[in-house]
């Protein structure tokens, strides 16, 4: 496989996953803002920007911090490099550059997603915004489905590897949202708003049911953190993403004979995670833990690029 192809496939996986995550984040924020008994309002939208590290970019647009403005910024704003529409465009550019490595299904799935959002300029109200993100999630699911029908070879694994690395990053940022999202004055930890916030985070990763299955007690923040960080059963947990990356890297090694720093880093990381106690993470600082995880994730990304000679 061409080095350029490998790089484009990996980034295709990352960008599709990122588009999906932003959609989920917007969905969660709309709910947080509107559906909770005590609307979190502006703070919810502020946190959505903080999680994606785009608060400064949004401030630079000079727009007011309203649902309509932030939702549009995160979804349809073509001038914002982190918007869904731009993620889909970058995904499509990568897919186009390597379309010979994709099946027709996979290519048309991503091309269709891109076309769908090309002509959209307005998100509309909350309901329309939810419809829009629902569509994005549908399209990215369609793409994922097509990937699972491709030949089981380097092309597929590289896309999945990109998705796994991106997903780990996204979940870490999502859990970190609680650090950025301060409780309103007078609200106590464990109170109604606090619970709403944690529930919304679970909803974002489609894990409300999983939570009930795995923890017999009611909603407790430490359990939510445990689920999202440490439980291998949950596909979006940090542990599951790390494990998936290890598996994909060893499949790639078996097929291509390329093994190295990326494999060692990923395996060491998985071994560490297996020993991680959630209670310790919380005691020593969740925010610091997540920050370290995100920067380690970036190092793994760089090691992958070196190992597969990305150009």
């Amino acid at each position: 496989m061409l080095s350029r192809t490998a790089s484009a496939l990996y980034w295709l996986g990352r960008y599709v996953e990122r588009a999906d995550f932003i959609a989920r984040l917007v969905e969660a924020t709309v709910r947080l803002d509107a559906l909770s008994a005590r609307p979190a309002g502006e703070a919810a939208w502020q946190s959505a920007l903080a999680v994606t590290y785009t608060d400064e970019a949004f401030a630079a647009t000079g727009q007011a911090m309203t649902q309509a403005n932030v939702a549009r910024f995160l979804t349809l704003d073509a001038s914002h490099p982190g918007s869904i529409v731009r993620c889909l465009e970058l995904a499509r550019n990568n897919a186009r550059a390597v379309r010979t490595a994709l099946t027709r299904d996979a290519w048309t799935a991503i091309n269709r997603a891109w076309w769908l959002f090309q002509s959209r300029t307005s998100t509309g109200g909350a309901t329309q915004t939810l419809n829009l993100v629902e569509q994005v999630k549908g399209e990215t699911r369609g793409f994922e489905g097509s990937i699972h029908r491709m030949m089981r070879n380097e092309a597929t694994w590289l896309i999945q590897l990109g998705a796994a690395v991106e997903r780990a990053d996204n979940t870490a940022r999502l859990v970190d949202v609680k650090y950025h999202l301060l409780l309103p004055k007078g609200e106590r930890v464990g109170g109604a708003v606090d619970r709403d916030q944690w529930t919304t985070i679970l909803q974002t990763v489609s894990a409300v049911t999983a939570y009930r299955w795995l923890y017999s007690e009611g909603l407790r923040p430490s359990n939510v953190i445990d689920l999202l960080i440490n439980r291998f059963e949950l596909p979006r947990s940090l542990a599951a993403c790390v494990e998936e990356a290890v598996g994909l890297l060893s499949q790639l090694a078996k097929r291509t004979g390329l093994q190295g720093e990326a494999d060692r880093m990923a395996r060491a990381r998985m071994a560490r995670m297996q020993k991680t106690q959630t209670s310790q993470v919380i005691v020593s600082g969740l925010h610091e833990y997540l920050k370290a995880f995100i920067s380690e994730n970036a190092m793994l990304d760089a090691a992958i690029a070196r190992q597969f000679r990305f150009i």
Binding site: S3, R4, R96, T100, L258
Partner: protein, 491 residues
């Protein structure tokens, strides 16, 4: 130009009620299928093209960065006898083009014999002294030719243009057929249409046959300028259907006159490159130094005989419009035969007498830049404004050698979906001729381009033309001999 009176490929000269006898059944299919049904199928094909990304970019048109080429549902048809005759002419012509290129970059007998004025070669921007003296592997220059044809009557086919550089459009030939099979399966049940889907295999075989040395498993690649190129879809489609890598310049590196492709497992030697990059941009060390699309050292590797380039650099001299007018002489010179597919009558403005005739008859003629393409820089006299005519008059007087002129022909028409229903529209035709070390092949079909505006003669996709599938109907009593195979021309 009036459409009425032009020869219609299906309806003949009499209109829908009296089709050509051979196409009565097809005409009946057209008449019996409700227009709304045809429209529905056509829209469905276009939606599929959009979704597949079968698009092209229009240069200088940023609003519509990506368009699909309109697709018309009514096929254009050839009888097998017509096709067999065309093929003979195509093979003859392409063999002459190859012989001409070999000669021009070699001994130059044709100049020594005085058949072509030498300055027409030496002062031609398409002539590449950089490749003179190089003999491409197996002596093949124009591996893939797209010969543009027009028709004016039952037996009157003319060559409008020879494309011997990087002719495009073959993906439309294949995709249009896919669309037709899906949308009009009854046509393929009722008529024996020669299949075109062997093209990618034939192309790969052609590529392999010209690999340097005796490598039984040569590495073949398609080289694209990248996904912003207007024909990128075709590049990826061809690589995909041949099962070879689609590479960009950044993927290739030349080391010690050997071309390598960079893969995740390291370098792999490349033997054959179907390049879709123009000569100018192919190698910054040989041609344009500012090219970011090319591969430094590629021409040195080619000169050393380590790689085959498809098509060979320097081919532009053979399809240049100034040389075109000499093609009948060129065919006679190398084959000893009369040309089987004649040219459209062409006036060379560089010759004073012809220039005078052109200036006196501008409103009847089509005037073209010899180095123009895509419908740009041309005057269509009968539909031009007074101002356009006087602009061209001035340009012709200032630089006559840059122009040729041709009479406007009554191009044949094919029934085509118009807003008000089916109506005749003018078409041209581009078959694709493949030359490898073992001979010349033509897939039975090609790209039919159709001018969608009533009366218009301009079929270029960049000027709003569309495409149609092109059927070659096999005779029932004749075994499938749709391909024409010439004698081996490898030496």
């Amino acid at each position: 130009m009036a459409t009425r009176g032009a020869f219609d490929e299906i309806w003949g000269e009499g209109g829908p009620d009296t089709p050509r006898p051979e196409f009565a059944a097809l005409s009946k299919w057209v008449a019996d299928t409700p227009v709304t049904e045809l429209q529905r199928r056509q829209q469905s094909a276009e939606a599929a093209f959009r979704q597949l990304g079968i698009t092209f970019a229009v240069y200088g048109d940023s609003d519509a960065a990506e368009r699909i080429i309109p697709f018309d549902i009514v096929p254009r048809v050839f009888l097998q006898s017509e096709w067999t005759r065309l093929c003979a002419g195509l093979v003859q012509r392409v063999e002459a083009i190859n012989a001409f290129l070999e000669d021009i970059y070699g001994e130059r007998r044709i100049l020594k014999e005085g058949l072509i004025p030498p300055e027409l070669i030496y002062r031609n921007e398409q002539f590449r002294p950089e490749v003179a003296g190089i003999r491409p592997p197996h002596g093949v220059w124009a591996h893939i030719c797209g010969i543009d044809l027009v028709r004016t009557g039952p037996d009157e086919f003319f060559v409008l243009e020879d494309n011997a550089r990087t002719p495009s459009g073959v993906s439309y030939m294949l995709e249009n057929r896919e669309a037709m099979i899906r949308l009009c399966p009854e046509l393929f049940r009722d008529f024996r249409v020669a299949p075109v889907d062997s093209y990618p295999d034939m192309l790969l075989e052609t590529m392999r046959s010209v690999a340097p040395g005796n490598n039984p498993k040569p590495v073949c690649v398609v080289l694209t300028p990248g996904h912003f190129n207007s024909a990128y879809y075709e590049h990826s489609f061809l690589a995909d259907s041949m099962g070879v890598e689609l590479v960009e310049a950044a993927d290739l590196v030349v080391d010690d006159d050997v071309v390598w492709v960079q893969t995740i497992a390291g370098r792999v030697k490349v033997d054959v490159i179907y390049r879709r990059i123009d000569d100018d941009y192919l190698d910054p060390l040989t041609f344009r130094a500012d090219s970011m699309l090319g591969v430094p050292g590629l021409i040195a590797a080619y000169r050393a005989g380590n790689v085959a380039l498809i098509n060979a650099p320097g081919n532009g001299i053979a399809d240049d419009k100034a040389i075109y007018s000499y093609m009948p002489e060129i065919v006679r010179f190398y084959s000893g035969e009369e040309v089987k597919l004649p040219n459209v009558e062409t006036f060379r403005c560089r010759e004073p007498q012809m220039l005078q005739y052109v200036l006196d008859n501008l409103e009847k003629l089509v005037v073209k830049l010899v180095d123009g393409s895509g419908g740009y820089g041309m005057l269509v006299g009968p539909t031009a404004t007074k101002a356009q005519i006087s602009d061209f008059r001035a340009a012709l007087i200032a630089e006559p050698h840059r122009y040729i002129a041709q009479p406007t022909l009554a191009l044949s028409t094919v029934p085509t979906m118009a807003e008000s229903g089916l109506a005749p529209r003018h078409v041209d035709f581009r078959p694709f001729v493949l030359t490898g070390s073992k001979g010349v092949n033509v897939v039975p079909g090609g790209l039919t381009r159709v001018a969608l505006r009533e009366g218009s003669l301009v079929v270029n996709s960049s000027q709003g033309g569309g495409t149609k599938d092109s059927f070659v109907l096999l005779d029932d009593n004749v075994p499938e001999v749709a391909q024409s195979q010439s004698q081996s021309q490898s030496q």
